[in-house]
Symmetry: C2
Subunit: 448 residues, 2 copies
């Protein structure tokens, strides 16, 4: 009731609408939001396992379904969930209508299976809301402008639909409902002392999402940042506030609260100016889904690295971290290692094999038993103390670091996959993020 | 290969695409038709029980789903079958693309749940066919022109989509694939000696469909007649020719073959002119889905019957046969009986009860244990011998007739439901339609 005439976009994922009972539960929540005086637009994913079942059907018919047809098939899923949800809301005495991506004006490019939204023209949605009705929109889908063909947005598509619609409608907030209470300082399944983050900036959230935090899709956060849409990640099982992702961590525009841990733990009375500039650690993310490829014995001549990464990119792989060392095998040679999603490994290896003669490297090594830990927080780069404390914590825990990469607000290290949980716990404690300490503004990867 | 550059519309129902294996089988048939040099447009229904499963989901959410949302829900079914079918055809090396009712240009009125097609604008289908690709179109659905909302066509909707598309595209033939070999002289489950009809006119097919033959939907035949679309009803399990429904029963425009039974069975040598005018019996249809309402003791004053049927029509019931008798109860009064689909019975009864005071009738009787037998064929009305033979056959079989109604090419009688099978067999034999006789042009209700 803080915003009596607010326009709220609410997004519910597949697990929130897994069966008729869940659909009715979600309908109650939506009806209550509407009855509290808000205008409500809802984005919904396909029910539970529908998408997997449809993919399975396609596999039974052909090993290589055309992407255009696959998109038509998969969008049947949201068609089912959105109409059922609209029915359930009407049944509670609140008027609701459902709309496909096309009807909602979600225009995309023609890249079937992972289309990008190019425009949102939500005339019908606005019209519906102005009539006092709830508009239910199919997530994950859009339509090409030129051919009127149905497209899907790929991973995290429904979150992106929600944020894009919120931007197009000028909504006050985009609520992403999930099965956890919000964004945490670390995955609570690994770090039981992890705490919910109340507020976080788009930039920090982007680093966390890119580093393995699964609670929000990367592209949805990117979209939110570009259009300044406040995102509220919260639980569909409780009424508690979750995590606000926005352009600032100042609650209600107030000055930054000095919540960070002191730069020197031994000093208990730090001048306020110093604290204001202290790094604010958001949280510890982790990622077990990457693999490492090492190109062994590469002749150390200009252009070789460029050629290698040109070929790897051409194979469709998204390269993450890159490290180049002097070769341990022979002098005049270097070893080049990089990480990539393990699903892209086979294609990258086969592309590289094809240029072995041309580049004249010795061999390729593939390692999918790696883990990546990322520490994310504002103002990190200008505080060398942060990396020192991170490396110290890992050393004390007896964990070997294989690769390191950094950005303005993130430090990532690669360890053995088996060491990853211990590493996350050690770093979480070292930065005093555990919930028995006093600091508050923090995070970590989790969720589905 | 009779028409090397023919444009053929093929319609496959839900039982033909019940699972992935059936989809692949249908795909082979379509690919073969295309490879034989024909242009092919396919209309497909939802897979097997999909529609019932979706209806069941809706019921779990609300007892009274809004029709607009129900239409959106149900159209998910064809979305799944059409994309899977397109995938399966592509997998056989024949290019195919699927299209929703909207994309195919099927424009309807806004009566959700039983919309009527008002126009077909198949630009994209024509374009696809001209590129040498197979177009797969979702049956049973369309879109309103004004609001761009999805509609469903109701019962027999996919057959109607197929014939409407065939008309819009100027197709050479519309093939309706089913699980029987064609239209029969009677339901083969009741009359084992029933025979497949090779050719039948739209008018006779309309009477058969209206009289309970389920193999083709009434409105699909109506559409075919209006636009002169030749319809070929055939089995999806064999390559055999089925039944051609068209404006004439002349095969290839040749003169009518003198295939009818002689007007006088005792005369074996009938002049050809006489045979040409002899009634041609198409077949015996039956219908167990109707009920009879009798309004007992209606004052015999002008306007009463009109008022009764006005009220019944207002309740949404489709009245079939009507009989008015002098009342057996009291003089000066009549009894009015009529038949209607038994699903409409409750609404009609309750509407009639509300005018009991106004009309001052004695009581209402409801009877859903009736059966209707219809004999259909050209030139019947001008041959009194036909009804005499029909009534004689029923008398000989000891079956009581409760109501009678006739049209130019049909005689229908109502019997007890329990007597219906015997009645169908007796009439089928009396008109020498059994397959051990020589006559050929004949029919009967059956199918799914």
């Amino acid at each position: 009731m803080e915003h009596p005439v607010a326009l709220i976009v609410q997004k519910f994922g597949g697990s929130s609408v897994a069966d008729a009972e869940s659909v009715k539960r979600v309908a109650k929540r939506i009806a209550a939001t509407r009855r509290a005086g808000n205008d409500v637009v809802v984005v919904v994913s396909a029910m539970g396992d529908t998408t997997d079942e449809l993919l399975d059907l396609a596999q039974q018919v052909t090993p290589l379904p055309p992407q255009r047809e696959l998109d038509i098939l998969l969008t049947a899923g949201e068609r089912i969930s959105m109409s059922l949800l609209a029915m359930a809301i009407n049944n509670l005495g609140v008027k609701a209508k459902s709309f496909t991506g096309q009807q909602a004006g979600v225009i995309t490019d023609a890249v079937h299976g992972k289309a990008r939204i190019v425009d949102v023209v939500p005339h019908r949605i606005r019209e519906t809301v102005e009539r006092g009705q709830v508009a239910i929109v199919a997530g994950f889908q859009g339509v090409t402008e030129s051919t009127n063909d149905v497209t899907t947005l790929g991973r995290g598509g429904s979150d992106t639909t929600a944020v894009a619609l919120a931007a197009g409608l000028g909504a006050d907030v985009c609520e992403i409902y999930t099965d956890v209470d919000g964004v945490f300082t670390a995955d609570p399944r690994i770090v039981p002392a992890a705490r919910k983050i109340d507020r976080i900036t788009y930039e920090e959230m982007l680093e966390l999402a890119a580093s393995g935090a699964k609670v929000l899709a990367l592209r949805c956060v990117e979209y939110g940042r570009r259009y300044g849409v406040p995102i509220h990640v919260r639980s569909s099982f409780s009424g508690k506030e979750g995590t606000f992702v926005s352009g600032t961590t100042h609650p209600l525009g107030a000055p930054v609260a000095a919540l960070a841990q002191p730069t020197d733990p031994s000093s208990s009375a730090v001048p306020e100016e110093l604290v204001m500039e202290a790094p604010i650690i958001s949280g510890v993310a982790h990622d077990r889904s990457e693999a490492k490829i090492t190109v062994v014995g590469v002749p150390d001549v200009p252009g070789t690295a460029a050629r290698i990464f040109e070929v790897v990119a051409g194979s469709g792989a998204n390269i993450d971290m890159i490290v180049q060392n002097v070769s341990v095998a022979r002098t005049g040679l270097t070893d080049i290692s990089f990480t990539l999603p393990d699903g892209d490994g086979a294609a990258a290896l086969s592309a590289l094999s094809r240029i072995q003669e041309e580049i004249r490297f010795d061999s390729l090594q593939y390692d999918d038993q790696i883990g990546k830990l990322s520490l994310v927080g504002a103002g990190m780069k200008s505080h060398p103390g942060v990396s020192a404390r991170l490396f110290g914590a890992l050393r004390d825990a007896g964990i070997n670091i294989e690769m390191i990469s950094t950005s303005e607000i993130r430090i990532s290290v690669v360890t053995r996959a088996d060491d990853l949980d211990d590493a996350v716990r050690a770093v979480h404690s070292a930065f005093e993020l555990d919930s028995d300490t006093d600091e508050a503004v923090v995070y970590g990867g989790t969720g589905r």
